[in-house]
Symmetry: none
């Protein structure tokens, strides 16, 4: 079987930290193009990988009939457009999260996927995490009884990424803490809870701590350093409440806050048992029986979620199998996120 | 100056643990009546206090012209009726929290207070806590900058009080975790934040873990033991989101949950600084300046909040001064709590 | 501007862990010589750095007119002699701490620095630490009120370095725990306290736990493994009391002790506030006001102190600016250390 | 055998908390007099004890031939005078610690004890503590090897007793933190170390945090509340270094300090093993063998030290046995404390 020829579009941090090394580690794939608007980044990726060709125009890859698959690792504002162009060009697509800046864009992507029948997976990488899958199974098996509430906390004291850059410019990123972090957390909630249909969404977002860029105090900055003359018009705090046909979901999220603790977890509350999942980490199961309260800490081998994600993407290109990260499965959380942003603007709950 | 003659109506746990001993410790008060429907309780209070007379009908006290002040420590369902009767009988009233089962009842109490001009204080005892008052002052002074969000957590793994009894019977208590605990937490929030006018309320309450009374697992039970043939029709979990003219407020509360941590705190998020208050305990202030993140832990003498509450009640009878626990100041949180219960029933947000 | 040409004299652990990589990271410096008596060490440094020439006789570097600056990373016994030789040869010098084995040697170094006017900095690297500088500023600003006492603890259960080697041989190292660790702690104390003039010194040193080299029990050994036939004639415990024109200073230090806790901190006691600095780590400020005790924990970006030290050294070669690590600024702590050793021998306090 | 008739002179906190209840619990003693200058205190002691007679002039007890033994629980300034008067009146004496305000006074007491041959014990109550005695035995048995250093820490953030009262008035108490707390710690050190002869003493005391009585911030106050118009002229911080024929001893002590930790312990450093004793609590033994570091935590029944002290006092009146709390055994620590105060005034070490 010949190798699947791949193009990487966007050679920034997520491409380097996750996609490229996973393709390189998979014997069935070969990266042929590294594309980035910044020539040096593309060149550096070629040097680091020891293969492929550096390009600054992704159409070169789209026009190459050898290319079967594309990883889209660009800023959010071109996710939809490039994904659609790739699909129309006959390429299978793995697009980084969030699917798009808006629900409308995501719907457009889904539509084209349905028309072309090609793979369109989104980088909701937690769906390839062992712990997350164990929780999904436990809930499906009824081990928690009725799941009536999920509380989501993704709060950090100081974690605004690349302040003043693409991450904090709404026109590029679509949003801040909610779309960048919240998308992962909501994705886990929906995935584990069996995709309960949302009924109402109420949310409020705030843009506070990054506004005064030169005076933003922080210890470390991912995708930094700050661009002092850049833009900051996205949310650094979000609170929301979602009613679904299943559990209610409430969340508090902060890229930055004046509370000195980082609380990154999801609580699944069932009437028989409950689970607290530490994001990206382990989880605990809490139950009770005959007057005894039980706390169970499962241990399991950690896996490389990104490797799993890439391996699965490559597999499903061959097999046609629909993956858990298929665009159809993330359209619901995209809708909720849109709802939170809309509700925040209207300052009232909206019914979906 | 002659002593203020006092009657205690209801000689259960809150009367014994707080009211009675505080009156005894105040040199300007004298307890003349201990009233309880259960004769033994009233008798025991007389024996323990070494003063007063045991009665089972509070009208005896109301008809005694010597009595100036009354502490109402009954279950919630008679708070409004007895308070009103006492005021009409010309007595000053300190009524335990919550003011009443419903907002309508609370409004009625307020109306009669306004008509009679007598004291009607509610047992929102945290308003006499040193730490709470320090926080109120800091927020008023602008030390937090703009206060944009408050998150309230009153979640315990197992703390349903008196399962099957008055606390868990809606007709008596008016509700569960929200009205019993939430009233304290919301009161602190409103008090410290300067009583911001609520605009929308959305909430959902659940009655789950206490339903199967004989199989409820727990370690300790306040106001216990369980009454296996009793009633359990109140909320043991509540989630809510409140928009105000000031900060948004979100809360999660649990008398019982299958998550094995007790998280009882309030986060005040400001754009200059933030505070996490551990309920009934100390607090930390988080700020930032010139790239440095600061965490400050004040320590202060602990005070007997109940003693302060009783002392202040007695003082304001003499001085006519309006206390921070006056019925007028708690009517807003009563309205919010009612809103949460209403919203939960309607399964949608309500505008106030 | 051409690069400053540098020679490294002594290619042991401190050269590799700190000096060499900092020069390599500075665009204005170029290492031309790596000198070590052990040829392999010099060769390895060349290979690791990808530049320079390996030599075993440092006079080659001294005779090279291109060389402007020298880092001296040898054992202590040749610090003074080589520093002086370098200065006389017209080179700027950064000499590792301690300046010398004895106060007399340090004075000689200072004298030659004054004569030549060239740079002679000592590796008191904590003066380039953010936290240390914050504390210095707070004390200077009077935020602690009157600083009346400083207590210094540098006590470890088991940390004798290179037992039996250069570190534990008095003729080479000049001393043990006091000169190797104490020099850093005293330097921070003097630097932060504004160099108060010492009046009396009393100390006692002990050489106990390393005496029986083969039977010394330990978990890890820096600069190890032990040389079973080597020498151990230095202090592994020291206690001292210093009166100054400012605060009294007391210290307990242990390279090794039969107490199972590592306590590495400095307490600055002022009458308005106090500070506990955890060595190489963060610090807490303790104050009090209006009956409230305040504990403040600043968080700040950690810096690479060694990089700062080297960068500053290179800068001051160009600018002539006197750095906080100038020989003049460490002569006082050198005098105190000498005083402790002398007092220990005499078994009585000495006046300075 | 008839009961030993006892008089209590001074009915303040130490009498009530320790002496009186211990005599009452001993079947061989009977308290006949409770003496206090404040009549109410004496009366209250009679009421609480259900025996004896309240007096305000202790000479009544001294003139009563039935009285064999006296407990002196007065402020420090009359310890010596009353002890001597009691001995001269033929009474056995148990005098609270410190023996006296000064070494001279203590010597005078010792002299009269030697002349009369009666019992004169001092309230160094830790000598009746199980843990302390275990440590003494271990050191005597050589289990620590050579004991070369003892470090003593009695540092509290806020513990000035009775600010403005007898405790903080030098003419009454003789001193502050050193004489009130240090006497206990030094006593344990001397007792456990086998009373090593002191050679030099150097110390410095400070009177800082209590100076501004109205603005002293604290959480709790023993023997409080503050007397705002009282006197504060004693030490709240002390540091000292003592050379002996055995180990060196260094100490830091604080009744109050701007460091937010309470560290109350004694470290005994031996070359074979070491011990950290938490004052009034348990201790740990640290040793090492064959590359393994050992930490041992002995557990033992806690005893009522005060009961032991009183029981032993009564026994030795009958048997004539010399107790470990005999005046002869505390004269050495009295001398050291005097030396610290003298050295502090002279600002130099003194040879003993």
């Amino acid at each position: 079987m010949s190798k699947i020829k791949v193009a990487i579009i966007g050679c920034g941090s997520i491409a380097n930290a996750a996609h490229i090394k996973s393709y390189l580690a998979n014997p069935n794939a070969e990266i042929m193009y590294f594309c980035d608007l910044i020539q040096e980044r593309a060149d550096q990726a070629v040097i680091n990988s020891g293969c492929g060709k550096a390009i600054t125009d992704y159409h070169i890859a789209l026009n190459d009939p050898e290319i079967e698959a594309v990883s889209i690792c660009t800023p959010n504002h071109v996710h939809a457009a490039i994904s659609i162009e790739c699909l129309r060009a006959g390429k299978h697509v793995l697009c980084e999260k969030p699917a798009a800046r808006t629900y409308a864009e995501a719907l457009e992507m889904q539509k084209v996927q349905h028309e072309t029948g090609l793979v369109l997976n989104i980088g909701v990488v937690n769906r390839f995490n062992t712990g997350v899958n164990l929780i999904k199974k436990m809930i499906a098996n009824g081990e928690l009884g009725e799941l009536y509430h999920v509380y989501v906390s993704f709060r950090s004291q100081r974690s605004i990424p690349g302040l003043g850059g693409a991450f904090t410019t709404k026109a590029i990123a679509g949003g801040g803490a909610l779309i960048d972090w919240g998308v992962h957390f909501l994705d886990i909630v929906m995935y584990c809870s069996g995709d309960p249909i949302p009924k109402t969404v109420s949310g409020q977002t705030y843009s506070k701590l990054g506004l005064d860029i030169p005076n933003y105090s922080y210890l470390n900055m991912w995708a930094g350093p700050p661009n002092y003359s850049g833009t900051y018009d996205v949310d650094d705090f979000v609170t929301a409440m979602i009613r679904t046909k299943g559990p209610t979901i409430t969340l508090n999220g902060a890229w930055a806050q004046n509370i000195g603790v980082d609380e990154m977890y999801i609580d699944f509350l069932g009437d028989k048992a409950g689970i607290r999942l530490q994001y990206g980490n382990d989880f605990k199961v809490y139950g009770a029986k005959d007057g005894i309260l039980l706390e169970t800490s499962p241990s399991f081998k950690s896996v490389d979620m990104f490797q799993n994600e890439i391996d699965s993407f490559l597999d499903c290109i061959r097999t046609g199998e629909k993956l858990p990260s298929h665009i159809d499965t993330v359209i619901l959380s995209s809708r909720i996120i849109q709802g939170i942003y809309d509700s925040s603007e209207l300052e009232r709950e909206i019914a979906l």
